[in-house]
Point group: C2
Chain length 409, copies 2
Amino acid sequence: MTQPTGPEATANLELNEAELPAGYRFAGVACGIKASGRADLSLLVSDQPVVAAGVFTTNQVVAAPVLLCKARTPSATVRAVVVNSGNANACTGKQGEADAQQMTQWVAEKLGIADDAVLVMSTGVIGHTLPMTKIEQGIAAAHQQLAASPDAFHLAADAILTTDKSRKVASRTVKIGKQSYHIAGMAKGAGMISPNMATMLATVITDAPLSPEDAQSLLATSADLSFNRVSVDGHTSTNDTLLLLAHASPKPLAEDDLQVFQNALTEMCIELAKQLPADGEGAKHVLQLTVSGAASDEDAAVIARTVAASPLVKTALTGGDPNWGRIVSAAGYAGPPISVPQTCLTILNTPVFTDGQPVAFDAAKLSEAMKAEPFVSVRLVVGSGPGQAKFWASDLTTDYVEFNSLYTT
Amino acid sequence: MTQPTGPEATANLELNEAELPAGYRFAGVACGIKASGRADLSLLVSDQPVVAAGVFTTNQVVAAPVLLCKARTPSATVRAVVVNSGNANACTGKQGEADAQQMTQWVAEKLGIADDAVLVMSTGVIGHTLPMTKIEQGIAAAHQQLAASPDAFHLAADAILTTDKSRKVASRTVKIGKQSYHIAGMAKGAGMISPNMATMLATVITDAPLSPEDAQSLLATSADLSFNRVSVDGHTSTNDTLLLLAHASPKPLAEDDLQVFQNALTEMCIELAKQLPADGEGAKHVLQLTVSGAASDEDAAVIARTVAASPLVKTALTGGDPNWGRIVSAAGYAGPPISVPQTCLTILNTPVFTDGQPVAFDAAKLSEAMKAEPFVSVRLVVGSGPGQAKFWASDLTTDYVEFNSLYTT
């Protein structure tokens, strides 16, 4: 993979041919859903039926494509994923459900397969029905352009973006026995929810052989440590969808091999997920937070999420302010028990609060370092328990407020 | 009471003599805790021992004066409350606890009463020990100036402010049988927590006779419907304190009379609490949210708190955007069950979402109305249950971000 990532990076990431799993083809086209004329329809096709697993939004207000994907995963017979951007097909009632089903039917007809071998995602404005004539044309055009190349993968990754400034892709190669397996992912999302109800969408593909049950379990575990540990504004979308496609095989990975694959999948998902807050609306910095010493990993995650959601912590990050009081007090109201006399905090490896007391440090120097660093590493110890968690969150800038207070309905 | 309130109001509210409960004297002085030279020490004294109840921050990181007040309430023998602003006496360890105790001792010596008849609050910067010499002089000066007048009440109310732009006071007179009782309150708070860890502090006084147990129960109930239903940034402070002082009597109010008093106390607390988000850091509008149709009042409150905390809802309010999608989707991820097909939303009495579907409305006209109205009334129905809740929250502006991203440590 080339190009660095981070809040300051504007160049697009690229994968090379050796990073792509075998057996998948890609396309991305513009079919006129977006008024801007940018790419808005993405198609991913596997040469053979593959295993598919999904993790979805926990919002009770759920878009039509999410309902469809939930019903069709886990599966061992999936062949394609179609994604449109520019319209979320959310709050669109029965018509929306029929349209999501129609999108999968058009793809199935082109490929000569069953409808239920196709999955669908949508992202963009809500409360409007899809422009189905454009989408039908887009599916036909994308089908014509399917290719297994990195260029085609990048076109597919670009066509799912909405308010994102940069493409979001990542990959891992994992050696299990004598065999090398490839994992590659694409994602979109610049807010957990963006001005017109954009969303987090991601698709991960691999040539590793997995059973549907294992694929589902692996994906849930990796999602919990990656996509569920990032935030821009903490607003859970109606459309969030993460899919994993894996090769079907009579001899899927098992036991120790599965654990090796799990680790690689989690690493790749974290690399992909971190790109969301790094490209967060208006973001200048990413808080890279590690909480340890909690009673359990779950408690540590709740504390990390609470600290990362505090507007006062986020604005301190914006201003390069090593404001330990805002961080420690946010941990104090998160809910899980903390031990104040054992609480310690370091910012960019500088201790600022130790054993429940503020300590002397060069605030001007640390502030300069925070301002210069796109990813600001903060370590918070809240006791002597075994629980720990990592979390990544964007800062809160005037650009975010301006962007989201524009009249958008 | 004179002068209107609201995000646009800058004039200070004033109570008149008839609104003040009998038996209390007040003072507010500048003793040099604040570098600005503004008033920073407030003293309130009752002529007789009074009943005192308190409601305190739920943060696990708790400032020294909160620990002291928790230990001394409820009580039937309180005589005074001393408050300093400019320094929160938080994260100051054993020295902080000794300093809080010393403040009450100095007041007790001046009045010739027991230490434990004095309560104390602090608000301002954290992690610094109090400038005790200045505070001793401030207590002496305030003691000299104690008076029962509205002017003295206003001086005491002004001396507890930090980043607040306006004084926060309210009153109610309640007739029970042939007797009229007075309730008057003062509060401070422009963020749940402000740049240097400011806080929500409030003192409510009444000449109604209450038992300590009833005073505690009444205050908890009223707090839950008022101070616990407002937010600026959702960050719970280390110092939040709400005190109620009431006349002690061998014949306290009971039964039906207590309920009448409860209603008046809640009304007054809501009037006082609404002044916090109206003066919220950078605030231009207040969201006045009513959630109904939930399974219980508790569920409705959770939904209201979640909607009011969403940065996307807050920025929509800033921009005058009738963005039903942000509000409905926030209700969808709040947690308590909602019925999407029964969900309805009105903004300033205009239906924008009915029975789970968007409805046509004049968006430009509604946007203009939202921009012109300091208190934007939003009603959200989430089902057919009996649960309901009201909530008040400030919007999120670039001024808030600029104010809180300044270097403050």
